[in-house]
């Protein structure tokens, strides 16, 4: 997928995954990469940005004798996710329209 398109949906995807369940860096990259091919480490700047934007926040949990940072969605993050979903519905219409026009099945 085009890198610009990827960037556009990556935020929504990350927020959606974390909205379902609080998760940590590696697990998140696993979940995301099932859906979207993305360099796993590229997630970190995204998570960092979302956190700076107050869409996500973190808490630490002990695991195997070390602290693992978990990401959880904020109220603001949920709102943002909903607005992303509205955008995606609109995008879906655009996509379907483009598909029909090109007889792409």
């Amino acid at each position: 997928m085009n890198i610009q398109m990827k960037k556009g949906v990556l935020d929504s995807l990350v927020l959606n995954v974390i909205n379902k369940k609080d998760t940590y860096g590696y697990q998140l990259s696993q979940d995301v990469s099932k859906i979207l091919t993305v360099a796993e480490t590229a997630l970190y700047p995204v998570l960092r940005r979302l956190e700076m934007q107050d869409l996500l926040k973190t808490y630490s949990k002990e695991y195997n004798g070390r602290l693992r940072k978990y990401y959880t969605i904020t109220k603001k993050g949920k709102k943002m996710l909903n607005s992303h979903i509205e955008d995606l519905i609109e995008l879906k219409g655009i996509i379907e329209n483009i598909m029909e026009d090109n007889d792409y099945e």
Binding site: G25, Y44, R49, M52
Partner: protein, 408 residues
């Protein structure tokens, strides 16, 4: 890049220009990520294969930092501020201060209430003290009015005290509500029944007010001090058996007393009362009137008597009253003393008594021995020594006056 440590070092070196916490967070994330990946069974090169280049990551982080971090910094500050001065904290601290203020006022009102209660007892006590004499409590309209007045004061004090207590109670109630969130343990007993007190003191007030309002003292304050209505101030009534009484003790402090026997004899005593005035009076019959004169007048005595027999009048005065000068004079134009075989004794601590007759009037002394007329006597002073009898001889007829000191 085949080595995780190299990857991390390169990445962190690129982030050098940013604050330390950025590289710390970054290191924390990748270390954790690397360990998690390893634990899932991947080896180092497999993990690193999926990594983007450190340059790409660091440039993105830097870009984000300059785009978002300042905002975040501001938010951090605001967040810190909010944590300390949150709305809830403001409300709580406001409540706390208000709670303390109301509690202080509650204490103040409670103390005022206590003060008034003590004061009301003091008022009643002083009322009783005022009318108390060496001979106990004497109840007459005036003393009753004093008592009633002090009862009015007492009940007013008590009612105000109850009001204050109630305010204190209310404030404490408010206080508890205010501080409930702050100090849940602070629960004061707030059951308070003040109604009975209000009813009781209301009734006391009503009754004592009636007592005061109907009292002659209240009706005419000047009258009581200046003159008397004989019927109102009759202390000893017709039932008084005069023949059995040799000594009559009267507390005549701040009051007017008339002792009425038969109308055979009349004695009027005018005096000024700084404090106590003890009168020891004995007679077979007669009229004794004691009245107070206006302030600053020298005490003087006036006697009217038509009594046949022996009249003993003993006047004891407190030490602080100087009786060096007793003026015996008539109030009217003429003073008539009808004395038949009467020995008049004036007993006093002083040995000098000035008998001064001034003005243009005549003194008539009438005894069994005959009619004595004392002519106009002016500036005549008799110096009377202790235990001496003096004959006042006018026109050849004498009356005996004996003067001696009180032996106590």
């Amino acid at each position: 890049m085949n080595n995780y440590q190299d990857f991390l070092n390169t990445l962190l070196a690129d982030l050098d220009e940013l604050p330390v916490f950025v590289s710390e967070n970054t290191k924390e994330f990748y270390d954790s990520y690397y360990l998690d990946a390893k634990e899932s069974g991947l080896n180092e090169s497999e993990i690193l294969e999926k990594f983007e280049s450190p340059e790409t990551i660091s440039s993105q982080i830097k870009l984000d930092y300059y785009l978002y971090q300042p905002k975040q910094a501001k938010k951090v500050f605001l967040g810190l501020f909010r944590n300390v001065f949150t709305r809830q904290a403001a409300i709580s601290s406001g409540k706390f201060v208000l709670g303390i203020v109301t509690y202080l006022f509650a204490i103040l009102f409670y103390l005022l209430n206590l003060l008034l209660k003590v004061g009301s007892i003091a008022v009643l006590g002083s009322g009783i003290y005022l009318i108390y004499s060496d001979y106990g409590l004497i109840l007459n309209p005036q003393t009753i009015s004093i008592l009633a007045t002090s009862l009015v004061a007492l009940s007013l004090f008590m009612l105000v005290a109850i009001l204050f207590e109630w305010m204190s109670f209310l404030l404490r109630k408010v206080n508890v509500n205010l501080l409930r969130d702050e100090f849940r343990k602070l629960k004061q007993p707030l059951k308070k029944k003040l109604k009975p007190g209000v009813v009781i003191y209301g009734i006391v007030l009503l009754i004592s007010m009636i007592g005061v309002l109907t009292s002659p003292v209240y009706q005419d304050l000047t009258k009581i001090w200046m003159s008397i209505e004989p019927s109102e101030f009759r202390i000893v009534t017709e039932t008084f058996d005069v023949t059995d009484i040799n000594e009559l003790y009267l507390d005549v402090r701040h009051t007017n007393i008339q002792i009425e026997y038969a109308d055979v004899s009349e004695i009027e005593v005018y005096y000024e009362l700084p404090e106590y005035f003890d009168l020891n009076y004995s007679t077979h019959d007669g009229v004794l009137r004691i009245q107070e004169v206006e302030n600053n007048e020298i005490p003087y005595l006036e006697f009217f008597t038509r009594h046949e027999g022996t009249l003993d009048l003993i006047i004891k005065l407190p030490e602080d009253i100087q009786l060096d000068n007793i003026k015996i004079k008539s109030v009217g134009s003429n003073m008539e003393l009808s004395i038949r075989e009467v020995n008049l004794e004036i007993e006093t601590s002083t040995s000098i008594i000035n008998l001064e007759y001034t003005g243009e009037y005549n003194l008539d002394l009438q005894t069994d021995r005959g009619v004595v007329t004392v002519g106009n006597v002016t500036d005549t002073t008799y110096i009377l020594d202790e235990s001496n009898l003096y004959d006042i001889e006018v026109d050849g007829v004498s009356t005996v006056i004996s003067v001696h000191q009180i032996i106590e």
